[in-house]
Structure formats: C-alpha cells, structure tokens
Symmetry: C3
Subunit: 140 residues, 3 copies
C-alpha cells in the first residue's frame, strides 16, 4: 500500500472551463508506481470546481461556460448574497453543481481515463488567482 | 494503513442547506491519527444530499435553497412521480445534482479543507427525520 | 488491505436512467471479503454518467429523463458544438452535472446503501453502445 499527496497551485485561468489533466499528472508522478489504485483531486475553494469531460474540441468547453451562465444567472433578483460581486453567488452554486473533487481509477501505473476524458478546472469567478488543488494518490 | 467507519444520525434539519463540518469531525476523531488519507462522507438517503461550499455567510446557504427551488420546481406538470408529495420528486433530482457523498483529503491529522470550505447537509424535504450518514476514514 | 479492480461493459441502454446496482455487485464479488472499505464506480465516457437515487418506482427514473431534457435543452441557440448531433452537447453537460463516478461505503462484506438507494447508469445519447465502467474495491 502506497500513499502520496501533493498540494499544488494551478496557474490563474480566465473564467471558463480548462483542461488540466497534464498538470495534475505532472504533480504526482508516483501514479507510475501503482498497479491498482485511485487518484483523488480536490479543489480547496468554493467558487471554482472540478469535473471530467470531453478533452478534444474546445467548443465543448465554451458551451459549458455559456450553458452554466444561462442556467445559474448573475444578478438573479432572489440572491441575498450579492456584496462580493455579481459573479460570486453564481460561482458558489456552480461549484456545488459540478463538485469539488474528482476520483479516477489507476490501472497499471496510469490514470484509467476513457479516450475522450480529461480533467477540467472550472473557473467561475471573473478574476481569480491560481487555485490550490490537493492530489492524493493511493493504491498498491 | 488504518480504517475507521462510523454511521451516525444527524439531527433533523429544516428544509435548506446546513453546515455540519463539526458534527462530521466529532464522529471520527481517528482523523487525528492519519498523516495522509481521505475522509468519505456518504448519505444513506435519496432526498437529501451532501456538498462542500462557503462556511461563513448564512445568506449563501439561503440562496442555495432559493436557487434550487427555482430551478428544480415543485408541481412541474411533467412529473409522473407525485404521490409522495410535491417536495418529493424535486428532492430526488436535487439529491443527484448535488451528490450523495463528498471526499476530503486528510493531511497531518486534519481535514484539508480550504479556509472557506464547509460540509453542507442539504435537506430537500419539507419534513424529515434525522439523516443517516456513513463516514469512512482511511490512510496512514 | 485488499484491492480489486474490474472493468466491465454494461449492456447498451436506451436513453434514460437505469438501475444497475446488481450488475455492479456481480462484477466485484470480492466486496464480500471486506469488512470496512469503499467501492468506486467510474464511467469511462463523457456522454453518460452515474448517480445514486431511488431504487423502487420507475416513474422516478422517467422524471429524471424528462427533467434533465427540459433543463439541458437540445438545439439551444447558444451551442457551438453541434456537429455530433443534437443530443451530443446536452449529453456532455448532463454528464458533468450528474458526475462520472460514485463512491459507496462497504460494511461487513456488503455495499452500505440506504434502503431506497440504487446505482443509476444515466444514458444521455439517443443511440449508444454498451458503456465501460471501471470498478475499484478496496478495504480491509
């Protein structure tokens, strides 16, 4: 049984959905030592999130941004929490709809993602610094 | 490698979003024995859910309730499953949108949550008893 | 500490929400050897997803399909990614809203699901082949 944990800061991204699979893999090369296991990626913030989706066509990621902005609106008349900016409350809601972590199987020293799967950093604020993520790798 | 599991019943909460980080931590003091690991919190119900979000301003949690009630309506004309009350089918939908579990890294004997992160029990029914959650702590 | 991993292909399902708890359990009989642990079920695709919800009345699953089709529309005028069919972009969005994996506690050799909980395979495409899922079982 082996355990590794690394907390990194991803670079600042503009609002939207961004592929970060490579950056996650580079941060935990110990995945290569594990035959069967899991990788857990956790974002230590409440206005950005993580999800797994299509890793090829950038229009998919653009449509994610458009769709979530339509369905989780800014300046909704029913928001009470508005003093941190019009993008703040929708950011919290999107973060919980999408989730704060992803867990991915490891098989034979590699992330066992499907052909079209990649990890997205979902940045929901208009102006954010780099986001801290904690990656935990474990298995045998 | 250490494993601990505890099933607890949270107190009954009114419909809405409620911070339960303290109650979870109190149920598994064994987190303190683990240097690297994970805590998995699972709700054993289908009309309440768990998520991680902002732990400070109560208006955030009030806005969660308002937003999800707007976007997952009661008495939608397209619901077939209506005999358990107008809050039942929306409760099931919200439970799957938000999720039935959260997984949080452990570092140096503590939950490695961000400064503003807390665990929410999301109660989607108008009248519910306390909810059963199963907490699994593992690591080394 | 024990680890088991099995990748299976579920049968092709029509678009909608389908109970697959039995098929998952059959694929990993090693759950029976574990007193405390977790089962992680991961779908290796980006247009289908996994969730946990009510395992009894089929109208709940029908309402899931209706609700998600209403709220994540086909042919939204704002989609740029449309060349793979009108059901493709909504399928990606639904997959991230619902999630690509579920993690369930194991207690005394069994999945520790609540009385009314089952695992759903959520098929978001109109015509799909069987879906690959990777099941990882670990514990002691």
């Amino acid at each position: 049984m082996q355990w590794f944990q690394n907390t990194i800061r991803l670079p600042a991204f503009r609002r939207g959905f961004h592929l970060v699979t490579d950056k996650i893999e580079e941060a935990v090369p110990e995945i290569g030592k594990i035959q069967i296991g899991l990788t857990h990626v956790f974002i230590n913030h409440t206005s950005a999130s993580l999800t797994i989706n299509e890793n090829a066509d950038p229009t998919v990621r653009a449509d994610f941004e458009t769709h979530f902005t339509k369905t989780v609106p800014e300046n909704a008349p029913y928001y009470e929490h508005s003093y941190e900016g019009s993008d703040d409350m929708p950011a919290h809601l999107k973060a919980s709809i999408l989730g704060s972590s992803v867990t991915i199987p490891i098989a034979n020293g590699k992330l066992n993602l499907g052909t079209w799967q990649g990890i997205y950093l979902c940045e929901h604020r208009n102006h954010a610094s780099g986001r801290k993520v904690t990656i935990t790798v474990f298995g045998e």
